[in-house]
Amino acid sequence: MFAEIGQFALILALFVAAAQAVLPMAGAVRGDAALMAFGRSAAELQALLLLTAFAMLMICFGRADFSVALVADHAALDQPLPYRLAATWGSHEGSMLLWVLILALYGAGLARFGDNLRASLQARVLSVQAMISVAFLAFSILTSNPFARLDPAPPDGAELNPLLQDPGLVFHPPLLYLGYVGFSVAFSFAVAALLEGRADAAWARWVRPWVLAAWVPLTCGITLGSFWAYYELGWGGWWFWDPVENASLMPWLLGTALLHSAIVTEKRGSLAGWTILLAILTFSLSLIGTFLVRSGILTSVHAFAVDPTRGVFILAMIVGATGSALALFALRAPQLKSGAMFGAVSREAGLTINNLLLMAVTAVVFLGTFYPVVMEAVGKKISVGPPYYNLVFTPLAVPLLLMVTVGPLLAWKRDSLGVLARKLRLPALLAVVVGGGIAFAAGPVTAAAVVGFTTAFWLILGGVMIFARRWTGAGGFSWRLVRTTPVAVIGMALAHSGLGVTTAGVTAMSCFAASKILVMRPGETTSLGPMSVTLARVHELEGVNYQALAAEFSVREGSRIIHLQSSRRFYPVSRNQTTEAGIGTSLFGNSYIAIGDTQQGPGGDGLVVRIYRHPLAGWIWFGGLLMALGGAASLADRRFRIGAPALRPAASPSAVPAE
């Protein structure tokens, strides 16, 4: 019965969305306030219906109702309840339902918190939002129905892939979806602005919090995904340039560009066309990201069930959404009023360069991800791997990162290189000395390490300088300025230095990570760098729904001894194996031990053991969290919640450097 309620709710949501796609838009065109208001109630109703549908599916999973095909395929009786519930979105159909649910929730959010929006703009945004809903609800109902029944119902189900039975999975997909889907709001705003022919500072001020609301969870989601891969897959890597990883990185890169170009549009009224284009592209890349892997166009370790009929539907949706938005852009954008001019050396110009670099980096990732598809279209099969990205990504990323610290020090409208050079002289020297020093201290010095650490420290210093600049007015340092620091400024400093922390981690991991594979027997000791690892004992473990072989290690580094347990789990229901690496964490790096099969060694049977030393590994994810925290702080800034005045003198120079 729960499944049927869910099914009805899903279908009803489709009808509501269809009405919401048409009526408010018509209202906006004809100036009919009642029709426009309908959009708000429809958006809330749609969210309510989808919440119901999702709750029903979750109940089916919770009750282990194997007469629902999806449950039978992804849950088993001896699976712990939290993972059975998390399996709700662990499958293609379930994750689609989560997708439309989040889409509807953002729509409801627009309806609820968009009171300060121009009514006609809000109505149009809600209509565009509903058009996306209609497409995805139809996709869900017609090609991937989560509530399909199975008759006869099996006594027990097939379990969720054990790799996914992990706390990481519980949060990773919903966070990513919050990000991907969140960019739909920016997309809807962009399309609505093109339809209205108005994209001014007020418009940008409305868009920006929504972009942030998507960017923050996306940042968390990518960070968590990378961390999950690191500890769960058991090979000690944190980023693999897999198509699906790239698919999440591309919207993040463009979303970052969008955040910054929206600032220019908001503060100065310029770059409106560019901001609109970025909004369209960011969401388009999110669509491509969520869906291309399900279409069978690309293969990936993340692949869901591949089905070409779904692929055609998905392609049609991408064509519909992106194609019509870009066509509208070609038609309408040339008429948009462009804002104030700015000098070649100015905050605006700095942000433009940052945008162009982000765009170039995205293009590089895009090319790497889709080049195999292009080549296949002409009959060749190739794959693009890390060497390509190392070669092309890094040279673009370094100038981009260097610019991050420069940008906030530039004045709006016009600045001079001389002034800038004076401001940057000391920090640059400091960064080179500290960065080079770290690289020298860390080991065999390479150009990559020096550049990496210098860039990292430069970024962290950039965060500090934002505060220093904010806190010293014409009369020097003042507590009043410290107390009145806008949260958004703290957010920017956090995000920029977070990027530096991540850069430091990436540099250390790329230049100084060490590993060793060997066969060990209990009692044996081996060393890797300053680490000395002893295999204490090997024993069997019994989990809730798995059996495991566990190995206890003691790791000594200097005077510090830690005990690590590394295990290999076997899940009998799905006949899958997973590795649980033993990871010893510290501020300066991790020791990481994974075990493999039993193998004959020189002195009898032993365990294959892989030992890694990962300097600063944790910094990669900690930096990601800092960036997300920065975004969240920026989102909390109360200036966003105050409606922008309808007529804002676009060229008023701000007395205090606000961002």
Binding site: G273, L326, A330
Partner: protein
């Protein structure tokens, strides 16, 4: 001019979609061999019984099939009747017993029959690595010059033999 600039995104997008459209028609799981149109890697292997075995040179002179099999392989018995039929139709089939104890391979063939013109025993799996074998069974089609022309991953079905491989073998026979 400015209008053209704004048209650029949508034009690029149309091109991209065309490529995706083509990509959708392809099977992402298909794995082409790196060896296509390259000479078969050199090897000289012993047989599964004394005096057997063959070297790469034996493949020259006529188009042939080189079938990688093993007694432990689950799909090989399914493919076996097709190989017997192919050999019966007069096309030479060479076998490589992959990581298989010669005694096991002999028992297996004694039970099912031996369609192979010659069998090489790749006990260490070294040659299979050179051939880029991903699993058993796998079959290579070589031409008169001993070059690899086609590779079949998994068991050969009667339909695949009739529809693709046999016509290819006939074409290769007709080649100079």
């Amino acid at each position: 001019m400015k209008r053209l600039l704004f048209l650029l995104p949508v034009l690029a997008f149309v091109g991209l979609i065309a490529i995706f459209g083509v990509g959708l028609t392809k099977d992402p799981k298909e794995l082409p061999s790196m060896l296509i149109d390259k000479p078969m890697p050199q090897f000289a292997l012993p047989g599964i019984e004394a005096g057997g075995g063959f070297a790469t040179a034996a493949l020259r002179g006529q188009p042939a099939l080189v079938n990688v099999f093993a007694s432990w392989c689950a799909a090989c018995p399914q493919e076996h009747p097709v190989l017997t039929r192919i050999a019966g139709e007069g096309y030479p089939v060479f076998g490589i017993a992959w990581k298989d104890q010669p005694a096991d391979a002999r028992d297996w063939l004694a039970r099912l029959g031996n369609p192979y013109k010659a069998i090489a025993s790749d006990l260490s799996g070294r040659v299979a690595i050179d051939l880029g074998v991903t699993g058993a069974p796998e079959t290579f089609v070589t031409d008169k010059a001993g070059r690899v022309r086609y590779k079949i991953v998994g068991p050969i079905s009667p339909e695949a033999w009739e529809g693709e491989i046999k016509p290819l073998m006939d074409r290769l026979r007709a080649e100079a």
